[in-house]
Point group: C2
Chain length 107, copies 2
DNA sequence: GTTATATATCGACAGCTGTCGATATAGTTC
DNA sequence: GAACTATATCGACAGCTGTCGATATATAAC
């Protein structure tokens, strides 16, 4: 680069995200980067404060039970969902803090 | 399932997201599901209305130039970034509508 | 304790993703 | 035109992801 044709190039870019913070966001967005997981979050949003069990979700999603459990685990691992066991059933709900956290990213 | 132990199971879940809408969100979140792409978006946010060229981003990210171009393409393909060519340089900025769109998801 | 059931985990597999070096493309400078 | 430079594309490769059937685990019902 000998000369800058129109506007300055290579201006310093301040406030770069730390590797750690960037990695956390990668995990969070990665958890949402699947159509079935987006549907799960949407269904739990519509369910309000009610929790849903795996058997609620399976017929709506049209995928096998192990795969539903896999997606629920992905969402739970990043803190978006909370799990509560009742008898043989497992009930999932949106973690209240999770939505605030995501919302804060774009405030 | 013979009886419901504590709360009703298999209640109808209304308003499921359409396959198409879920797929769009999958693409959008997938574009953000990478630490280097998160950093790029963050840098462009900090840059405000100023656009950045590839040579701005490469040293900050510490990855090769082809890989930076790959990530910029991923973000541009989903409409998060806009590209403007000036001379041999390519300048990228956040698409104004994109942030509104993401924000609206969590309003 | 035996049977039934809801969920989680395992093993395997195809497909996608991030990365790089090498190369192509397009615009600038001489 | 020839040389240079900023960016994009290509080919390849390791690693991750979503999916399934089979199986394990845990609780409930009898």
């Amino acid at each position: 680069m000998k000369q800058l044709p129109l506007i300055a190039c290579c201006t310093p870019l301040a406030n770069e995200l730390s590797d750690q913070h960037a990695g956390e966001l990668e995990s969070l967005f990665g958890a949402l980067a699947d159509k079935n997981r987006v549907k799960i979050v949407s269904m739990l949003l519509n369910a309000g404060s009610e929790a849903c069990c795996v058997c609620d979700l399976e017929p709506e999603l049209g995928i096998s039970q192990p795969t539903v459990s896999y997606h629920l685990k992905r969402l739970t691992d990043v803190g978006l969902l909370e799990r509560e066991k009742r008898g043989t059933y497992a009930y999932y709900r949106l973690a209240p803090k999770a939505l605030q956290r995501v919302r804060a990213l774009f405030a």
